[in-house]
């Protein structure tokens, strides 16, 4: 069989299929690339099927797509219980042990993951209009994902979570507040048990870009969807030039809080995000670059 490298999941794929059997991206379309180099992630076609192990996944719907698994007897997936839409009674569900319950609670992360084991059907969906992004991972490949964007992963993918290291504080004394514009923790998925499939949900549209070594880019922190683990990130603070307003205004009211990401590697963003609050002066922060115009 001839193979080609899918331009979206970067895995060897089957050109005779209308969609990549690993990530669902259409095979027969030209990629949409913006002038600046962002590649639009094409939505997975309605009813497209993806294969993993002896099981397959079918994507139903285009607005808030449903991910429907047909799990074979030896295959299993895990997910947060919030995204479970329906299941057949014979699909076996069980709690998955998670470490760090208190830290996860404090960070607003789901405390409980659910394992679903075949045989049987089960379906998951998120609660935002957007796209399902499929990331097939080769053996030992790792990917970093922003919190709350994880939909599900196959059982052979290992899940860990670590501080993002991007934060700043406002206020002082009892009013001091720590902000995590990219979330307090990020998820890392590693295919330690052989090739696996990771599915994310991106609110809005998703775009991918490859950064060269040391090439950097400023993005809204909450727009980051996933990145290769080779991509580094830090905080960047930008203050506009004072155009006649009081000095203090330009010090915090009109600042921009960015995530600066550095290549090499792949990075993906989503088009729906929540800008950080920008009304109070920053009193301390994680490592950051700063620019005053």
């Amino acid at each position: 069989m001839n193979t080609y490298i899918c331009r979206y999941c970067r895995q060897p794929s089957d050109p005779s299929s209308p969609t990549c059997p690993l990530c669902g991206a259409p095979v027969d379309i030209r990629s949409s690339v913006s002038d600046s180099g962002w590649v639009e992630q094409p939505p997975i076609k309605d009813m497209a099927r993806l294969q993993f192990g002896q099981s397959h996944v079918q994507i139903a719907g285009t607005m808030v797509p449903v991910v429907e698994f047909n799990l074979a007897a030896n295959d299993w997936i895990y997910f947060s219980h919030h995204v479970l839409l329906w299941t057949e009674p014979q699909t076996r569900l069980a709690n998955m042990a998670m470490r760090g319950a208190w830290n996860r609670k404090m960070a607003g992360l789901p405390l409980v993951m659910v394992e679903a084991r075949g045989p049987g059907h089960i379906a998951l969906s998120d609660n935002h209009a957007g796209e399902v992004v499929a990331l097939p991972l080769q053996h030992n490949q790792q990917i970093w994902v922003r919190e709350h964007r994880f939909l599900t992963a196959t059982g052979n993918i290992n899940y860990t979570w670590h501080p993002t290291g991007i934060w700043y504080t406002t206020g002082s004394g009892d009013d001091q507040e720590t902000h995590y514009p990219m979330g307090q923790y990020g998820d890392t998925f590693a295919a330690t048990g052989g090739p696996g499939l990771l599915l994310l949900h991106a609110p809005g549209n998703a775009f991918i870009r490859d950064l060269q070594p040391n090439q950097s880019l400023l993005i809204q922190p909450s727009a980051l969807l996933y990145r290769d683990v080779t991509v580094r990130m830090s905080l960047h603070l930008e203050y506009p030039r004072n155009l006649g307003f009081a000095y203090w205004n330009s010090r915090w009211s009109y600042r921009s809080i960015w995530a600066r990401i550095y290549g090499p590697g792949r990075v993906a963003v989503q088009s729906i995000y929540s800008p950080p609050e920008d009304t109070e002066m920053i009193t301390s922060h994680s490592y950051a670059t700063t620019h005053h115009w």
């Binding site: 309605d46 719907g61 808030v64 057949e88 059907h121 609660n127």
Partner: protein
């Protein structure tokens, strides 16, 4: 004649959308491997008829249902879904009965009735799909609270209490469901489903477990019961419940919902 695969109505050859429900006639049904069928995606500006009136669907992200009412026709709806109307279209209110029970259940006491002639338009406030359900005489349909958009006046509107303490406490579907019944005449019911809408027909005794927030509608023949899962969720390790649907009949779900036990 061409039979609509969604509502089973017969259509003249050459028509591209069903005259009774607006479903495209020139597209294949989209059915997943497990048997869930996507509700037909109504084309922008498609029209269909009920009684002597017509309904046109405008937009695809948050669709608007624009109804041109015949002088003898009327529709009813919850007042907050009214988008615009001709000045000449008279409105009246219909008491649903139930008084305090509906207050406690968070449901409106009064539905608003609009009578023809004239035009009136409706929409809800979330991305999603309009689900057109022509009801033949003798049909009974249960609908999740606040999912109903508009119904023709030949359909009787009532509500049913969700029975059983377990269902009430853990079912995640509130205290009441809307029930729509047709007696002597057919009618038209339009729902708004958040996200995508999928429907499955259960055989007698066949069961499916559905997240209660995703439930949209069901035939009244389908039994709904809160079922405890072998799972603990949240910091307090509370039990997780799903809605167990038992056939026979249709079940409709929506893909965008607020999880009923979000923690």
């Amino acid at each position: 004649m061409i039979q609509c695969q969604w509502c089973q109505a017969q259509n003249q050859p050459g028509t591209t959308s069903c005259q009774t429900c607006g479903a495209p006639l020139d597209e294949r049904n989209k059915v997943s491997d497990s048997g869930w069928r996507e509700a037909p995606r109504l084309r922008d500006m498609v029209e269909f008829r009920f009684s002597g009136s017509t309904c046109q669907v405008e937009g695809e992200l948050v669709p608007v249902a624009e109804v041109a009412l015949h002088p003898q026709d009327g529709v009813y709806f919850e007042h907050h879904v009214l988008l615009w109307k001709d000045e000449s279209v008279p409105l009246s209110s219909l008491n649903t009965g139930g008084g305090m029970k509906r207050t406690v259940g968070g449901m409106p006491h009064i539905v608003t009735v609009a009578n023809g002639p004239g035009r009136i338009a409706f929409s809800r406030d979330a991305p999603g799909e309009l689900v057109v359900l022509p009801l033949h005489p003798g049909m009974e349909l249960d609908v999740r609270e606040h999912a109903f958009l508009v119904a023709s006046h030949s359909i009787q509107y009532s509500f049913v209490r969700i029975k059983g303490l377990v269902n009430l406490l853990h079912g995640g579907n509130g205290m009441y469901m809307d029930r729509f019944v047709t007696t002597g005449y057919p009618g038209m019911l339009l729902l708004h489903g958040n996200g995508n809408v999928l429907e499955r027909t259960l055989q007698p005794g066949e069961k499916i477990l559905v997240e209660p927030g995703g439930f949209l509608y069901k035939d009244s023949t389908v039994q709904m019961q809160a079922a405890q899962m072998p799972l603990k969720t949240g910091f307090m390790r509370q039990s997780m419940y799903l809605a167990e649907m038992t056939g026979p009949g249709r079940v409709g779900i929506q893909s965008m919902y607020v999880h009923h036990h979000a923690d």
